[in-house]
């Protein structure tokens, strides 16, 4: 990586500084090298990007709007707040940007079967969607804990023709779904393409998922230039694995005047130990194919994450985020379950937008910083998912059984 850019990584072996890499079983290595070859060819092939952007426009609904949140801005009484509206994408989140890209790679490799893991179900739905569109059989692994709290998405996946396999091992959430997906992959390595949902996993996944999601940041930059005539002062996004955040951040990494903030899930509070804030509360380790910040105990055993948001409930984070944190280019902060819920309600009432619980964490941080900032300060926040899937969870917090 060159000294004067934050946007050049990873190196050819997938390292972002000390993070990233390819820590996978030998059975998968040849396939991962194959995938890397296919990806490197595809990224230089205009036809690949024509197909990607064509589907983005006609199927996903890109570009997603940039929206000035006028009432929220007035209510907080400080910075001007914009939402990048990726919740308006087909399937209701940013996840489809990546699944469209990866299924095109799967086709290029001649794979005949797709697997995926999912936490909140958004990536599972986005994967099931492109599998229906491209007529490929789809198996989605999901922890039973997440199946309970994201029932609508489970049903959506089934409607789309996917098979949802219940994962009962370990903590029964996203990390265990990933383990099961890896076990499936290692067993069906010849036929199967694994569509990973976030900027993590063995190289080249963190790089290729970032490239598919960076459409978010590129559009936001262009749109802000059009309405404000300048770059934003601050960009903010929530982080579980970190794909929506990396998508928004990446095109701004070398714009040194832009403050970049990632918001992790603090669950019941960092000090409670029940959280999902890998950078704030974890340390470097190796899991799921890469070295990154992980929640782990003194023996290097992985600790269960906790968040009210199933999409952030993961004990790791993408390796590029880990590197950006160590470089000091991006600030990583956290918001608790309660703060996210407060933001969820406020956004619903003031803007008529019911956010997913994931971006509600980003909004919770915006609510903390906006009031003290001047009224010419521009914040752009990624509204990466809509909250329909979360109404059951939120109802339960109010003692309402839907």
């Amino acid at each position: 990586m060159t000294d004067n850019s934050y946007a050049q990584g990873p190196d050819q072996d997938g390292h972002f500084g000390m993070f990233g890499g390819r820590y996978v079983a030998e059975t998968l290595m040849p396939l991962i090298l194959d995938l890397n070859r296919t990806w490197q060819e595809a990224r230089d092939d205009p036809e690949f990007w024509d197909a990607f952007h064509g589907l983005g426009r006609d199927y996903v609904g890109r570009p997603s709007p940039l929206y000035f949140a006028e009432r929220l801005t007035r209510h907080l009484g400080g910075a001007r707040i914009y939402f990048k509206r990726d919740e308006l994408n087909h399937t209701g989140s940013h996840k489809i940007n990546n699944t469209v890209g990866q299924i095109l790679l799967a086709q290029r490799m001649g794979k005949t079967r797709i697997i995926a893991e999912t936490g909140a179900g958004q990536h599972g739905v986005a994967t099931a969607t492109v599998c229906a569109r491209f007529n490929l059989p789809c198996v989605v692994y999901m922890g039973t804990k997440d199946i309970e709290r994201q029932a609508p998405n489970v049903f959506r996946m089934k409607l789309l023709g996917a098979e949802v396999r219940h994962v009962t091992s370990g903590s029964r959430s996203l990390k265990d779904a990933l383990n099961e997906a890896l076990r499936d992959w290692v067993t069906n390595v010849d036929s199967t393409f694994y569509i990973i949902g976030t900027v993590a996993g063995p190289h080249p996944y963190p790089e290729l998922v970032r490239e598919f999601q960076a459409i978010i940041g590129r559009e936001a930059k262009e749109q802000l230039m059009a309405v404000e005539g300048r770059l934003p002062d601050t960009v903010v996004a929530c982080i579980g694995g970190g794909s929506n955040a990396m998508g928004l951040f990446h095109p701004f990494l070398d714009d040194r005047t832009v403050d970049i903030i990632g918001v992790e899930a603090a669950g019941r509070g960092i000090e409670s130990g029940e959280h999902a804030a890998s950078i704030t509360g974890g340390r470097p380790g190796v899991l799921h194919g890469n070295r990154t910040y992980l929640l782990q105990d003194d023996d290097g055993q992985i600790v269960e994450a906790h968040s009210i948001s199933a999409g952030l409930d993961y004990p790791g984070i993408g390796p590029e985020h880990a590197w950006l944190a160590d470089q000091g280019r991006v600030s990583y902060v956290s918001a608790t379950d309660d703060e996210a819920l407060e933001a969820f309600h406020l956004c619903s009432r003031l803007e008529g937008i019911i956010p997913a619980l994931e971006p509600a964490h980003a909004l919770a941080h915006v609510m903390k910083i906006a009031p003290a900032l001047p009224d010419d300060h521009i914040i752009c926040m990624n509204m990466c998912g809509r909250g329909d899937k979360d109404v059951f969870t939120v109802a339960r917090t109010q003692g309402v059984d839907l």
Partner: protein, 275 residues
């Protein structure tokens, strides 16, 4: 006497014109005390090589049986330090049987690579098998381990093509562990014909002994492998034997007896396979 305990054991097995039995059990399963008894009993039950699993919360290459075994061990308080201590205990009474630690990288990385290698060598560990450290990451632990005098036992799989094999075998020592199927531990087995041609291919690239594992659960299968390879690895079957002896989730003498009885039976079949 030259080489490591592993080298000496394979030389000895070659002299006896038979294959060896490598028995895998998880450190701390069903609890640290019973586990020490089980490991110490394996050589007497016919195991030629002991593979000790370092328990991990997220064993991505393992099937349900070894996952459960890992979870029992962790629940009973097993740690990597405890695993090294287990080896130390066994070494007090047995200075000949090769002991190989097998598992995933994160607990070692957390322990500290240098400290781990020093403590492992000091305790009497002979070799390491790290599932999630392919040859691409050799600088991480493989090269320092070889430097420290440990054997680095490489996994080769049905997907490891001939172009890739030289890199995979570059720093391998002790023996090569052929994973007979694409898949996780404790599921199906490959046919002996498929395995035979895979072992032949490996032998064209290396003079190291070849052990074959994954999906071998009984004496009959083990004997089939023993006619082809230099060693047979059995793991999930022993972990299942331990599980079968549980009483209300707790380990009992039966956990140990079951596993050792099975080891004796499989060892008998392995020993007479080429007779």
């Amino acid at each position: 006497m030259t080489g490591t305990r592993i080298d000496r054991r394979f030389a000895d097995l070659a002299g006896q014109r038979r294959a060896g039995l490598a028995a895998f059990v998880t450190a701390g399963d069903p609890d640290p005390i019973l586990s020490a008894r089980l490991v110490a009993g394996l050589p007497g039950a016919g195991a030629d090589i002991i593979e000790i699993g370092m328990p991990f919360t997220d064993p991505m290459a393992d099937g349900p049986v070894i996952q459960a075994s890992s979870q029992r061990a962790l629940k009973a308080g097993m740690t990597l330090a405890g695993t090294i201590d287990l080896v130390r205990q066994v070494r007090r009474h047995d200075d000949d049987t090769p002991i190989v630690l097998m598992g995933y990288y994160n607990p070692i990385y957390s322990y500290g690579n240098d400290a781990f290698l020093e403590d492992a060598v000091d305790a009497g560990v002979d070799g390491l098998i790290l599932v999630d450290l392919p040859s691409e990451e050799d600088r991480e632990l493989c090269l320092p381990a070889v430097e420290a005098g440990l054997n680095w036992i490489r996994l080769a799989t049905p997907t490891t093509d001939s172009k890739r094999l030289p890199d995979v075998l570059a720093h391998a020592s002790g023996f090569v562990y052929y994973v007979s199927i694409t898949g996780i531990t404790g599921t199906h087995a490959a046919t002996s014909q498929t395995i035979a041609s895979a072992v032949d291919r490996l032998r064209r690239h290396t003079d190291l002994p070849v052990a074959v594992g994954f999906g071998i659960r009984n004496g009959e299968q083990a004997a089939g492998i023993a006619r082809i390879a230099d060693a047979v690895v059995v793991g999930s079957a022993f972990c299942q034997a331990v599980a079968d002896g549980l009483d209300n989730g707790k380990g009992t003498d039966a956990s140990i007896d079951n596993a050792l009885t099975l080891c004796e039976a499989i060892s008998y079949d392995v020993r007479k396979a080429r007779a």
